[in-house]
Amino acid sequence: MIEINHLSHNFGQHWALKDISFRLKKGEFLFLSGPSGAGKTTLLNLLFAALPVQRGEARVAEFALNSIKPAQIPLLRRQVSVVFQDFRILPERSVYDNVLLPLQVRGLSRVHSDRRVRAVVRALGLEKRSSLLCGELSGGEQQRVAVARAFVVNPQVLLADEPTGNLDAELSFRLMDLFKQFQAYGTTMIVATHSQELMRRHPEAKVIRLEDGMITGANWPGATLYPGLEQMMEQRRRTAPPQPKSTKQPEGAGS
């Protein structure tokens, strides 16, 4: 479903991603962890063609992103839904209209669209809010609208960039439970997050740790660590000033 080989990306002199390789099958769930600036958002942006592939290869839902034509990008995005930390919904439209938007774009019939929107809105507990304007909703509700909009089209892949960043712990856990529910329908998911707690609550999920654009940790053999990682770590150890305590290993990261 997702196949990334030696993917690198730079912004001028700065390498945001370095030699990233991993594979995910249909219905698998991956956490992308790492500090701010590690390259998580860049990687997600590459996966839905918001950025062009510069080096390496990327294949998402049968689309080769290296050679994707501009006219094919909407077709890719009909298979790949994205959820952002800042929701990216239309505040001046109702919950119903926001969730309906991807179906309108696809030209689905009104009856069919209505049925699907109502089902997803109900599944996300928004049925009583469906006629309200999104601007009138709380942050948690807005995030649920964004998730509803992502899932209403039964995407093959869901990318979520810090989806719990604006939510409290309780709402974050509920949102992840929703993701897991939808994963059961066969959607492959990549969730970028800082939260160690979220990853701890889903030990069955795959995890990749990114640092400085490199994979520095992963909990399954489908991901390849940065080739020069060992030498680089050794060099860091030599040049770094002595630390009073050893740094803690990231949760779930290992191989």
Binding site: R88, L101, V105, G107, R149
Partner: protein
């Protein structure tokens, strides 16, 4: 697919309510430009019509001495009949001093402070006049044309009581001059104004796109094709152009009704003509197309 397109067209029309001030300013600019184009086209139509009507004609404006007595007036009336027998006569229009005074009174119009000229009727200073159109005989070559004018002019001068004869040149020559003006000035100006129209609408469409950038970003995110995003904006541009040119046409029609006869006096005798049906269609279709084109270019930039 037709359902989507209809919905997007509807969205485009509703989109006119976004940035209302910008839309109103654009509409005003479109009306102004369309109005100017319409005025130029009206001038073209009027002159073309006049030239086609009077093609090959030479006009002689004849003035008799003012203040004729009854016997002289009878003589002048007889001369007007005689003039029609001169070879090459096409048509003529004559004014007795009384007719000229009435014409003048009507020309002064409602806005004039002098509404009644009867106080000068007894000592009417206006002369009897006539505008006579002649066509040169077929065998007259370019070189002889001047001689023919001189001869005809002399025949008119020789009529008793004639004080002045003025001649307008052959309308074919005027026609050629007009065609040059049309080719080198009028048409480029109309093309320039049409391009200006596209530019104005293109900028407004671009402004609408910028103001909707958040929505556009979300539409792109959920897999909308560019045409899906652009069609409402293009429709918005085309509707603006269509509405602007329709309003301009209504204004032109109103103004035409007011000024239709203002040049209807000797020696001009010009009736200002309104646009032909083909021109009206062009005035509606071209701005709408320019609206689409300008919008498309605006979105491409």
């Amino acid at each position: 697919m037709p359902r989507i397109i209809l919905r997007l067209i509807g969205q485009g029309i509703l989109g006119l309510s976004i940035n209302p001030w910008a839309q109103i300013l654009t509409l005003t600019a479109v009306i102004l430009v369309s109005f100017l184009v319409g005025l130029f086209l009206m001038a073209v139509t009027t002159l073309d019509h006049q030239l086609s009507m009077a093609s090959g004609e030479t006009s002689f404006q004849v003035y008799w001495r003012p203040g004729p007595d009854q016997a002289q007036s009878d003589e002048i009336s007889r001369q007007w009949q005689e003039i029609q027998d001169i070879p090459g006569f096409l048509h003529g229009r004559t004014f007795t001093p009384e007719q000229a005074l009435k014409e003048m009174e009507s020309r002064l119009g409602r806005n004039s402070t002098v509404k009644d000229l009867t106080f000068i009727a007894e000592n009417n200073p206006l002369p009897p006049t006539g505008l006579f159109a002649f066509s040169p005989p077929q065998d007259v070559q370019n070189l002889d044309y001047g001689i023919w004018i001189k001869d005809t002019s002399q025949k008119l001068w020789d009529l008793p009581g004639v004080e002045q004869v003025s001649v307008t040149p052959l309308r074919d020559e005027l026609g050629q001059a007009w065609r040059k003006v049309n080719t080198y000035i009028m048409r480029p100006v109309i093309v320039f104004l049409t391009l200006l129209l596209g530019l104005i609408i293109g900028n407004t469409v671009r402004l609408a796109l910028l103001s909707k950038s958040h929505e556009v970003e979300i539409l792109q995110l959920v897999g909308a094709f560019n045409w899906y995003i652009r069609l409402p904006l293009l429709v918005c541009g085309a509707v603006q152009a269509l509405a602007g040119s329709a309003i301009a046409l209504v204004l032109l029609r109103f103004i035409h009704m007011q000024i239709r006869d203002v040049l209807m006096f000797p020696p001009l005798m010009l009736e200002i003509r309104f646009l032909t049906p083909e021109m009206i269609l062009l005035m509606l279709a071209v701005p709408a197309l320019m609206g689409l084109l300008g919008g498309w270019v605006g979105l491409k930039r």
